[in-house]
């Protein structure tokens, strides 16, 4: 453990290191690499949800000016990874087989990509695509979760491994709920939600040689993409390059390699040109995953004085018929509160829809809507303040893993959140507070997410001008990864942030996992720290070897830069970097360092926590809800970049407003087709929906979790926001809305 690290200067708010590039348009996104001889592909999607393709009439499209190829299962080249049949490589793996685009005539979901029209311009490809005529053999599809709930099943992973997080879980007595003094039982529904990042999913596929592939691809993992396409095309990994320098938001839909990517690669091979493929907004609803519609039921039992006795929590989430997508919907129910008796039942329901994928706060955000609504319902029935009820059931260790927490500072969050939202104005009885005609309500919801960490490697070089240049394959989907890493390096070395550069987003750089699961600062941050320390050790050795006695017993932690001068233990070491490099006749020093999770993970339970407070106004006659204020409190360990971290929280709260009030991908089950599938019909919050959002960080390091002390932030920013708003609506109106979103029609 590296305690000394935190004795140094604290982290200050810093503007994004790439902010100027982004706002001036200089940042290059995946679709913005102007390769010579580019061709453009447009995908045609199926118009049925289940069946087979009878025929495809491509004549008109092929004859259209500028069209280079019309590619479907009829004429697509063989993808080596599709053979032998059955296994299509994919990381992270889902149970089942990802859709093999242009493989056969089978239709598994509506708007499944079935044809690519490739042309010399986007417009010509679009026109070509409009001319493709497809005939189908239609079969009866099933897309309705509630109507098919009886067919829900235990995931294969749980069947094979009873320790799988999706396996059935029981703690304590099975009849505890039945025997509880106070009981509530309720069902909750979260509709299908779409990630809808601003940047559309885009890829440029470029075969630089027959066996050498470069993709400029909007993904959340360059190494994942490199590995997947190397397997898919039977190439050595070093022959596949993935460039993802900038990502305009992703929220999870870049955590998988999708059929449109393979479609572009096939097309590039067939037309022997680089091929650019950008999904349309409508295709973003059907081809790159979504948060699955999920039904939940909670039974909660407590004593009259507010001690939880039992929680039984079950859920059914939808998946496709070809892959089993699972998420941690019920995990927090096992560990959040000191209930002696807990049972969880996680089920999935395969439907004729495309495969879902993790969406910000995956699973936990869905489960938190159930659990935190139920906590509010129980507090109301008992007649307790919902915060007091939670404090009465606070747990000082993890009752699920039966391990101590690495750190948990939720009490600080309750206190600060109460103060900032004005909780003292809340009345226990709903409907008691008014502002003019509007009903006023206060609510809160808790969130948690594992403080995940994976191994990561950073290359760092320090040159004689004092510039520190680092490289890592990690992507940045918007949280400000480069900024955070620059701040960690600056803090560790004393080198000013403007002299530090962090290059990311290429599979050519040293290994890193996905930017997902709130793991980037926890994983890459320690590698940055480790690389900085290794550079400092090199300098110490160099200085000592040249007879500078002060360095003889110095350690990396003792050494800092003050401008170009080296300092040991805060005092001048009477030498500069330039001198040292000159004495040793070198231009730069460099190192590559890997940092990995350690054995603390087997001894401690590691979670980040959040608590969201909402004040709402509800109009009693029109049913309109206006969120007037949100306070986000987070126990996320060390906050290495206060400004971008606060932005993360604000963005998460905004997403939570969407979950609570507006977002709903509505499907017409007669056709198995979405009807709200553009930004006009699928409502995400606009500025007018987003109030003042206040952010509070406990900002205490968790050095058991990782040497930076960070526990991750991206997910907990949204987890718990939707129930906070739903609970506030209940407090305002006395109406409990258990199916999101809370639109005006549900409140009148």
């Amino acid at each position: 453990m590296n305690e000394a690290f935190f004795d140094k200067k604290e982290y200050k708010p810093l503007d994004r290191v790439d902010g100027r590039l982004k706002v001036t348009g200089a940042a290059q996104y995946s679709a913005e690499y102007p390769l010579p001889n580019m061709a453009y592909a447009v995908l045609v999607g199926s118009r049925i949800a289940k069946g087979t393709i009878k025929s495809i009439d491509t004549k008109a499209a092929e004859r259209a000016p500028g069209v280079l190829a019309v590619i479907s299962h009829m004429n697509a080249i063989k993808v080596p990874g599709y053979q032998p049949k059955g296994e299509h490589p994919s990381e992270p793996s889902t149970n089942g087989q990802p859709l093999r685009v242009f493989f056969d005539n089978k239709i598994y979901s509506n708007d499944q990509p079935i044809v690519a029209v490739v042309a010399v311009s986007l417009e010509k490809a679009q026109h070509g695509a409009s001319l493709v005529k497809v005939q189908y053999n239609k079969e009866q599809h099933q897309t309705d979760l509630e109507a098919n709930a009886k067919a829900a099943k235990l995931p294969e992973a749980a069947k094979k491994n009873p320790k799988s997080p999706t396996a059935d879980y029981d703690r304590g007595q099975k009849d505890a709920f039945e025997n509880s003094a106070v009981k509530i039982e309720a069902e909750y529904v979260l509709p299908t939600e779409m990630h809808n990042p601003m940047e559309l999913q885009a890829i440029i596929a470029h075969w630089e040689a027959d066996d050498k592939l470069t993709v400029y691809d909007k993904v959340q993992g360059t190494k994942m993409t490199q590995k997947n396409f190397a397997k898919e095309w039977n190439l050595p990994e070093e022959n596949v390059k993935c460039i993802t320098t900038f990502v305009g938001g992703a929220f999870g839909n870049g955590l998988h390699n999708w059929p449109h990517e393979t479609a572009a690669i096939i097309a590039a091979k067939q037309v022997k040109r680089p091929v650019k493929l950008v999904l349309t907004r409508e295709q973003m609803f059907t081809m790159v995953g979504y948060r699955p519609r999920t039904w939940q039921k909670i039974q909660m039992g407590a004593t009259q004085d507010g001690k939880l006795v039992a929680i039984n929590h079950e859920s059914i989430g939808q998946t496709s018929t070809y892959e089993e997508f699972t998420e941690s919907t019920l995990q927090q129910t096992r560990m959040m509160y000191a209930s002696p008796n807990v049972s969880t039942r996680y089920r999935i329901l395969p439907l004729n829809v495309a495969t879902p994928i993790w969406m910000r706060g995956p699973g936990e955000a869905t489960g938190a809507f159930g659990l935190e609504s139920a906590m509010d319902e129980m507090a109301h029935v008992i007649g307790m303040d919902p915060i007091d009820f939670r404090l009465a059931n606070y747990t000082e260790s993890d009752p699920d893993k039966k391990m101590p927490w690495s750190t948990k500072y939720m009490r600080e969050c309750y206190e600060e959140g109460k103060k900032r939202i004005g909780w003292e104005n809340r009345k226990l009885k709903p409907g008691e507070v008014r502002d003019g005609e509007w009903l006023v309500g206060y609510g809160m919801g808790t969130g948690t997410f594992g403080a995940n960490r994976s191994s990561a490697t950073v290359h760092a070089e320090l040159n004689k001008e004092g510039n520190l240049i680092m490289h890592c394959a990690i992507t940045d989907i918007g949280p400000g990864t480069g900024t955070a890493m620059v701040q960690i390096a600056s803090n560790a070395t004393g080198i000013p942030t403007e002299k530090i550069t962090f290059h990311l987003g290429s599979s050519e750089f040293p290994n890193a996992g996905l930017q997902g699961g709130s793991s980037t600062v926890n994983s890459v941050g320690p590698a940055v720290l480790s690389a900085c320390n290794a550079l400092k050790e090199q300098l110490i050795t160099m200085a000592a070897a040249k007879g500078n006695a002060a360095f003889n017993s110095a350690k990396a932690d003792d050494l800092m830069f003050d401008k170009n001068e080296l300092q040991l233990g805060g005092k001048s070491a009477k030498t500069t970097l330039a001198d040292l490099f000159k004495q040793n006749n070198i231009e730069k020093i460099e190192t590559t360092k890997e940092s990995k999770p350690d054995e603390n993970r087997t001894k401690y339970s590691m979670y980040a926590f959040s608590m969201h407070f909402a004040k709402v106004h509800v109009h009693p006659f029109t049913g309109q809800v206006r969120v007037k204020k949100i306070v986000c409190c987070a126990d996320a360990g060390t906050i290495v970049s206060p400004k971008t971290a606060a932005s993360q929280m604000i963005g998460g709260a905004t997403g939570g407003i969407g979950m609570a009030l507006t977002e709903d991908a509505v499907m017409d089950h007669r056709f198995g087709r979405y009807v709200t599938k553009d930004l006009a019909d699928y409502h995400m919050p606009v500025h007018a929906d987003v109030p003042d959002i206040d952010v509070y960080f406990v900002n205490k390091p968790d050095l058991l979790a990782d040497p930076v002390g960070s526990k991750g932030l991206g997910e907990i920013a949204i987890i718990g926001v939707a129930p906070a708003i739903a609970n506030a609506v209940f407090n305002a109106t006395g109406k409990r809305i258990r199916e999101l979103p809370i639109t005006p029609d549900k409140l009148i």
């Binding site: 417009e123 010509k124 026109h127 007669r670 009807v675």
Partner: protein, 327 residues
């Protein structure tokens, strides 16, 4: 590529004659709806006549009325001194629609000519009699939460999406149109039509006619009017229900009333019976509730829009309360 001709017209006369002898030609001004429709293969005009240079942008006081040129931008009208002063209802309604960017492009004529936002109209994989006569109505037994409760037919239950038009129909506006045979005036209430057996027809404009201006007669409603729009988010969403309410008050007594609803019919829906019920009455929540009940007579709900039968009268009451300063 789908080929189409593009030409510019600088006068009303030139614009109208550019349509004559050209099947499926369309005017384009702001293009905020038409371009979307073309991109989605919902409409494919053979010719676009750009009328942005026709001098029809003026907003002026004439004898007993205000005339607004068909090409006046939505944002200009909403912010115009004369409109704010004399017809604040219209200004409010305009500002309740779309987004500032769209209002900066969209024209008054274009706003009137915009097509429905029915989901089924916009997806060429789904049935829609308005887009493809005879293909069926997807919404009738489908997802019809946004759909009409007044004046529907078995052929179509779509709503007209405009806010501006709801205010204009309440304000007794008249539409001045020009055609090959000269000009004519259409009462605003008769400009848009009900779907009946021809849902593909949104309005009563004849072939080769062009909207020249909208005229609003002077009235005594400027002190007591209100446009209330209830929607799924605070801005940039179409109305679940909207109400334009205008009162001419003598103390607390209602001398004249105008009421219209949006989000409930294939056209901006004027509520004349409810208006009558308000005349001579004292402004109160009870009076307004009675008028709202009358307003909703004949409303017919479908599977997902029954809430409009309850929301509708509530919004009427709230709009009237705001108009009468009872809030």
């Amino acid at each position: 590529m789908i080929q189409f001709q593009y030409e510019r017209a600088a006068t009303t006369k030139a614009a109208v004659s550019a349509l004559v002898n050209s099947s499926n030609a369309k005017f384009i001004a702001g293009g905020t709806n038409l371009v979307d429709l073309m991109k989605r293969n919902i409409t494919a005009p053979t010719k676009l006549v750009d009328i942005n240079q026709v001098p029809l942008k003026d907003i002026q006081q004439q004898n007993g009325k205000i005339s607004i040129g068909a090409l006046a931008l939505n944002s200009r009208v909403a912010e115009h001194k004369l409109i704010i002063e004399k017809h604040p209802l219209l200004s409010q309604a305009l500002n309740a629609g779309a987004s500032p960017q769209i209002r900066n492009m969209a024209t008054v004529g274009g706003n009137m000519m915009q097509r429905t936002r029915c989901h089924y109209f916009y997806d060429t994989a789904l049935p829609c009699n308005k887009r493809e006569p005879g293909s069926g109505c997807g919404a009738l037994e489908g997802l019809n939460r946004m759909h009409a409760v007044f004046g529907t037919s078995e052929q179509c239950i779509a709503v007209h999406p405009s806010d501006m038009c709801v205010a204009l129909v309440a304000l007794d506006a008249t539409v001045l149109v020009a055609g090959p045979k000269g000009e004519r005036r259409i009462p605003f209430e008769e400009f848009h039509r009900l779907p009946g057996k021809q849902p593909e027809k949104d309005n009563t404009l004849q072939n080769n006619e062009m909207i020249v201006s909208v005229e609003i007669p002077d009235n005594a409603f400027s002190k007591n009017s209100h446009y209330m729009k209830v929607r799924d988010r605070a801005s940039y969403a179409f109305a679940l229900v909207s109400v334009a309410a205008a009162l001419n008050m003598d103390g607390k007594i209602i001398k004249e009333a105008r009421l219209a609803m949006g989000g409930v019919a294939h056209k901006p829906w004027r509520l004349k019976e409810a208006e009558k019920a308000l005349i001579g009455k004292t402004a109160s929540e009870e009076t307004f509730r009675q008028a709202a009940e009358i307003a909703m007579q004949g409303a017919k709900a479908y599977k997902y829009n029954a809430f409009k039968l309850k929301l509708g009268p509530n919004v009427i009451v709230e709009a009237l309360k705001n108009a009468a300063d009872l809030v």
